[in-house]
């Protein structure tokens, strides 16, 4: 009969053995795993259908990746602190709708696009504040809190549109999604800016360092005087604001207000973050890793499309890939370490 004696001393021994094994495997795996998967997929899809590697497709790829990028940056910080943000879909959908309606309403004003975007960022921030406060002050689990706010966001969106899509032809707003700056699609520029912002925040600011600390050892952070509550709220505020912005970008890109604008984004965002190399337990990884993860997911979707896999099958494949990726991103932070 299987002996399930996992006494702490045996745990120590198992830790040592696991650590020895994973120490030698996980570092190269984390470092080279995701990029090699990406390269592997690119080769795979190009072989099956050379159309994959055309500039046209690459441009399309970049556009597809852009919205996910914005959301994934916020998601990285959330996962970094060991939480999860399911409200992304709700915020994105609601923001998409509100941005389109705002742009339409102020269509005569040249700044209507900017106004719409600012408004949605504001709304996203509010959602983030609620998420953060409930998590931090009321100590409710992030899974439940964000599940709730997602429902609120989605519901509000449906309420406003009644289920119909509303088209938008306002140029100053559409520019955000389909225009370009100096030849580069504006979506791409925004994605790059967000990545840069994310990397900047995580490396150079107290906010970033604290997020790593909270994820790596929340109790230690608390006992070292770090304002953990404050930073948790800020992380969710950031994620909310970015989701809001992403919603506006979706609206600008598809040119319509749709209550399902955010559909599937949560899975993609979490997958991107985790595949990139930020484990769900947090504390390690970062936005620089998420970049690879975003491209992995986008290449996967785009590639499957190009080789003709049905959209439904795509979801199945994505799910399997995500499971494998999560399993492979060894939760080193879960392996206890102290002597």
């Amino acid at each position: 009969m299987k002996n399930e004696n996992t006494s702490s001393g045996e745990k120590t021994m198992q830790r040592d053995a696991l650590r020895q094994f994973f120490g030698s495997v996980s570092k190269p795996l984390l470092l080279f795993g995701p990029p090699s998967i990406l390269v592997g997929m690119i080769i795979f899809f190009t072989t099956l259908n050379p159309r994959f590697a055309t500039t046209q497709n690459l441009e399309s790829l970049l556009r597809q990746a852009a919205v996910l990028s914005v959301v994934a940056v916020g998601g990285t910080f959330v996962i970094m602190i060991g939480s999860i943000d399911l409200s992304v879909e709700g915020i994105v959908s609601l923001s998409c709708i509100i941005s389109v309606l705002t742009a339409n309403y102020f269509s005569s004003c040249p700044m209507s696009g900017l106004l719409a975007v600012t408004l949605t960022i504001f709304i996203g921030t509010l959602f983030g504040l609620v998420n953060g406060a409930l998590l931090s002050k009321a100590k409710l689990p992030s899974f439940l809190v964000t599940l709730g706010t997602m429902a609120v966001g989605n519901g509000a969106g449906l309420l406003i549109t009644g289920g119909y899509t509303v088209p938008c032809y306002v140029a100053s707003f559409r520019w955000f999604g389909v225009g370009d700056m100096l030849g580069i699609p504006s979506l791409g520029v925004f994605a790059i800016i967000m990545f840069a912002l994310g990397i900047f925040l995580q490396t150079y600011t107290r906010f970033g360092r604290s997020a790593y600390a909270i994820g790596g050892g929340e109790r230690v952070a608390v006992m070292s005087g770090v304002s953990v509550e404050k930073y948790k709220i800020l992380v969710f505020v950031l994620a909310g604001a970015l989701s809001g912005f992403a919603g506006a970008l979706v609206g600008a890109r598809i040119g319509a207000a749709s209550a399902v604008a955010g559909s599937g984004l949560v899975l993609d965002a979490i997958a991107a973050v985790v595949m990139g190399g930020t484990p769900l337990t947090g504390g390690v990884g970062g936005v620089h890793r998420t970049i690879i993860g975003v491209f992995c997911i986008t290449v996967l979707s785009n590639g499957l499309n190009i080789i003709g896999v049905s959209p439904h099958m795509q979801v199945v494949v994505k799910g399997i890939v995500v499971i494998l990726a999560v399993a492979a991103s060894v939760d080193r932070s879960k392996l206890p370490f102290m002597k």
Binding site: S7, M13, G216, V222, M223
Partner: protein
């Protein structure tokens, strides 16, 4: 004729880069309690892990009751009757006591494929009785019973092998090092079981080894360094064998203890909080105030409450003349109070953080230049601390996980030195750390005290408490029972202090 139940001969074990054990031998006699001591890294854990089936040995033999055995995993070792009881109780909290005792051996109670629970409970009760403990209910959910009882369950599990295998060999690995051990009950249980089993007792606490064991094996640097009969030796001699030179006085740097000033920096007035009541005391500038007490005395809770981690329910804390009401740890930190928890695992340092990040966790706001982290300053600060504390690390960029226990503890202390807090609350600062690092930590405390830093030293180790403190406060059942002077050269004896605990 001497009866040997276990013999380990010529055990050698090499890990990449280090020879952990070099031709080590050990003999355990029937019904004896054999002490196994040595500094961290001496090889005690490795030797026991080989015995318990976790590591394969490179060479040597293990003879159990004169028959050679070679346990390939823990279950096999268990089937031979060899088991290990660890620092933190290795029991599953969500299942019943009886289930934990017979974990892995449930087949003994199968009747037509279904577990006969009544039989299991009865058997469990029998095992517990062997330990002389009647207070534990075999049907209770393990997570709900007090800590010390969970430790007893592990021992009950080990002794239950008696009915299956004959006389078990039970290894106790630092059983008194964890957070809330009931030493009295534990030692009594062990003494009671002596007639049915043979014990190997590993501990850093030499006073305990001397109290409990019959003979003592000393390991040093992976080799046998000594074997003595317990009642023919003392702490001084054991220390000398363990670390190779006589260090008793220099260990606690008692000669460095200077009288502290009269200035009161921290005053507690009838302070009450979780598990303690009505505590009134004054802490002077440059003083090391020891706080002692057995498990349940409330001393650790007092420390945490000072740091704002627990809520004050009555009385006041007055810091430098001003009333302090820390609502959280960050309040306390801002008021220049530092806290080192006895639980390095959960509250000491962040494992996958670089050393320099852990060291600067408390002073992030001081590292800012134009609102951003100044990396040069960060590295300078970290390097300075590493050198000041002699922290052994490849670089300040290394991951803290990779440091040894003693060096990790230095990092924990380092982050408070970085903050330059004027009041340090230290709860077992030298726990689970080897002798050499312990002495360094004590030297550091002396130096800080001389510089005017005030230290509240909470400790279970009487010699440490007595030697290091200027004054000692003993707590019993949540209240202060006595205040003792402990000036240099006029230290109270352990008996004197213990009577108030």
């Amino acid at each position: 004729m001497v009866d040997e139940v276990l013999e380990m001969r010529g055990i050698t074990k090499t890990f990449p880069g280090v020879k952990a054990l070099d031709n080590v031998s050990l003999e355990l006699r029937k019904n004896e309690i054999l002490g196994l001591v040595g500094e961290n890294g001496a090889g005690k854990s490795t030797l026991m892990k080989i015995l318990i089936g976790l590591y394969p040995k490179d060479s040597g033999e293990i003879l159990l009751r004169n028959e050679e055995i070679n346990p390939k995993n823990v279950k096999q070792a268990f089937d031979y009757g060899i088991s290990m009881v660890f620092q933190e109780p290795a029991v599953l909290p969500n299942i019943k006591v009886a289930e934990n005792i017979f974990l892995g051996y449930e087949e003994r109670f199968l009747r037509n494929g279904i577990i006969d629970w009544e039989k299991m409970y009865k058997e469990a009760g029998k095992q517990l009785e062997k330990l002389g403990i009647r207070a534990i209910n075999p049907k209770a959910i393990t997570g709900s019973i007090p800590f010390w009882q969970r430790q007893m369950i592990e021992i009950a599990r080990a002794i239950s092998l008696e009915d299956v295998v004959g006389e078990p060999v039970i290894i106790l690995d630092e059983p008194t090092s964890s957070l809330s051990v009931d030493r009295v009950n534990l030692f009594e249980a062990i003494r009671k079981l002596k007639e049915k089993a043979s014990f190997i007792f590993i501990s850093h606490r030499l006073e305990e080894v001397l109290e409990l064991t019959d003979r003592i094996v000393v390991l040093k640097n992976g080799k046998n360094a000594g074997l003595t009969t317990t009642n023919e030796t003392d702490i001084k001699e054991l220390h000398a064998i363990m670390i190779g030179r006589e260090r008793e006085e220099a260990y606690y740097s008692e000669d460095q203890q200077e009288a502290c000033g009269d200035e009161v920096v921290l005053s507690l007035e009838s302070l009450s909080g979780p598990y303690f009541k009505d505590v009134t005391l004054q802490l002077h500038k440059g003083e090391i105030l020891g706080v002692g007490g057995v498990v349940g005395s409330g001393k650790s809770f007092l420390g945490r409450t000072l740091f704002g981690d627990l809520k004050v329910s009555g009385g006041r804390i007055v810091l430098n003349g001003k009333e302090l009401n820390p609502k959280s740890a960050s309040d306390a930190v801002k008021s220049d109070i530092a806290y080192v928890s006895r639980d390095r695992h959960e509250e000491g340092l962040i494992p996958y953080f670089r050393v320099k990040w852990n060291l600067t966790l408390t002073i992030l706001e001081r590292l800012l230049k134009n609102g951003l982290i100044d990396f040069r300053k960060e590295k300078e600060t970290a390097n300075e601390l590493v050198s000041r504390l002699s922290i052994l690390t490849p670089s300040v960029d290394s991951l803290s996980v990779n440091l040894s226990g003693g060096n990790q503890q230095k990092v924990v202390l380092g982050k408070w030195l970085a903050r330059e807090s004027k009041i340090l609350v230290l709860d077992e600062p030298a726990r689970g750390v080897d002798v050499g690092v312990k002495a360094e930590i004590y030297r550091l405390m002396r130096m800080l005290a001389k510089q005017g830093v005030s230290i509240v030293l909470i400790s279970d180790e009487l010699p440490e408490l007595i030697e290091m403190s200027h004054r000692i406060i003993t707590m019993k059942d949540g209240r202060i029972s006595q205040v003792l002077e402990a000036a240099r050269g006029q230290k109270p004896s352990e008996k004197e202090v213990f009577q108030y605990m």
